[in-house]
Symmetry: C2
Subunit: 321 residues, 2 copies
């Protein structure tokens, strides 16, 4: 792996925090061909549709099956998106891997392409590791990438990663790398944790994105800056509308409607359900394909999901434009 760059001059690295990604982002689901290789063309088309719905691109998130892709596959997909004209400043790719060498390589590549930020999982194989080791992981990535335009969003998703981002760790990272440590996605599903992030760090310009639109309104009312949510893959416009109009009189009613749609998806394995909906409403059956260890919805589940969604008046306008 490449060695460390010169240490960043922190004194000069304090930057405006307002050149930042905010709003609603989708951990974009990754389309696969029948041989299970990623399909860059359908991927770019999906990203364009999401941008047209005012939703940003947290490609390579949990819901993207990012951890079922190799680093090479992610680099290739990112290159293909940018070459297809998708705006990198709207992208916040997931670049946190188990191996420091992979995290450095992928983060440096995202920076080279001009991505607006990166969403970074902690290394997630070894469990019960100390905050010291996690601090060192993020610090090594920052020092080795060596680019003060880097904006890192820490990714807290203990139900899946089993390794979390504590308030104490954020405090230490913010102190060491102000400006570069830009915020967090909180997918704990625990509002108390989101509130602790907000209460401790929002005023210092640390941007908190709840990991579900279920907490969008509550988050915005407490200083959050949007959300990064699985179901922004399928219900982008309505979620983006609440973000844009959260101070309007109908905000609570909007939130309730979002929760209803989210609740339907939550009855099924999430990633196969998102892909099943895109396959159905976009009329492209091949979208249903997932990589192992995931499995597609059964025909019964798929029929039931679509029946539930139709009954709720759900549509995906412009999906197959």
């Amino acid at each position: 792996m490449s060695g460390r760059q010169q240490p960043l001059d922190q004194g000069a690295s304090i930057v405006s925090t307002r050149d930042r990604i905010t709003g609603v982002l989708s951990p974009v689901v990754t389309p696969f061909k029948p041989d299970l290789s990623p399909d860059p063309e359908r991927f770019a088309s999906q990203c364009r549709w999401l941008l047209s719905q005012n939703v940003g691109l947290a490609v390579f998130g949990t819901n993207s099956e990012a951890n079922s892709l190799s680093t090479e596959e992610k680099i290739e997909l990112l290159d293909r998106l940018v070459n297809a004209g998708v705006d990198p400043s709207r992208m916040m790719p997931g670049t946190g891997c188990c191996a420091l060498s992979d995290s450095v390589r992928l983060t440096a590549h995202a920076m080279k392409l001009g991505c607006g930020g990166v969403l970074m999982l902690p290394p997630f194989y070894y469990k019960g590791v100390p905050d010291d080791g996690l601090f060192r992981n993020f610090a090594e990535v920052i020092e080795r990438v060596g680019d003060r335009r880097l904006r890192i969003y820490l990714y807290h998703i203990p139900p899946v990663s089993q390794v979390g981002i504590t308030v104490a760790l954020i405090e230490r990272l913010l102190k060491a790398y102000p400006g570069i440590i830009a915020g967090a996605k909180d997918s704990s599903g625990d509002w108390n944790n989101t509130k602790a992030y907000l209460d401790n760090f929002a005023k210092a310009g640390f941007d908190v994105f709840p990991g579900s639109e279920t907490f969008l309104l509550q988050g915005l009312r407490h200083g959050g800056v949007g959300c990064i949510s699985a179901t922004a893959n399928v219900n982008p416009a309505a979620i983006a509308r609440l973000f844009a109009t959260w101070q309007s009189a109908d905000a609570d009613a909007q939130q309730e409607r979002l929760n209803t749609i989210r609740g339907i998806f939550a009855k099924y394995p999430m990633i196969p359900a998102l892909k099943g909906a895109i396959a159905h409403y976009g009329g492209e059956a091949s979208w249903a394909t997932v990589r192992p260890p995931l499995v597609e919805l059964t025909a019964t589940q798929q029929a039931s999901l679509v029946a539930d969604l139709d009954k709720a008046g759900f549509t995906m306008p412009g999906l197959r434009s």
Copy 2:
């Protein structure tokens, strides 16, 4: 990723199960240089020492910090070992990754080099995945590698991976790929699980390795074939001796002595403790280096570990030969 090979002709693939790796194997700890890159020379030297102690090479195991290495780094290390004259037939590299594409690439490379077998983690990021998805993962690897000399040892380590290998999954895999599904390493720490593997499959030629020498004697008495254990990195000769003489009168006394040494290491974070002991008894301080998210033992822990080991009469003969 490369496409599937022609489906393997299972009718012709039943092979003798006795051309197999058995005995004691070490998940070889990986030495790092000061810049945290792997050190192939010290790695080869460590592997040679382990072989001289009658211990085989489960390189890229959990204790090898394998999941803190990229696929490229593992391929390069494996090439360097073989080029340095280390016998690949004594190697059982860990090749199970989160991404199917990585698992296929690494497994195919191990086969190309002539490795005696591979130890395969299930994809471990996504939790609560169905056995169907895990079956499909292993099946895709087998079909894409397309080499009937492949010997897969399934790696069950739920305390770390959180995704396990059930008896039902083994049964299904054995039926689909007899001969290729060669056995398992059980690091559950739960004797009842090891016994279930043994009782169900040992007679069919499925080779079970407990994941700790604590269960070596008990395993051998119930049809096991050895063990793959962290502490085989530091106490190889004594563990190998029990394997070789397990039917002798002093077997229980040997087991007790092994447990005492194991117990000392188990008081500390295991990987840093293994490396700390090698650094001390081999007189090479640089061996202590770990990659994030792990952290080295503190000076106090290191002194305490060495004091405990010295008191127990522990040595590592021939380590720095």
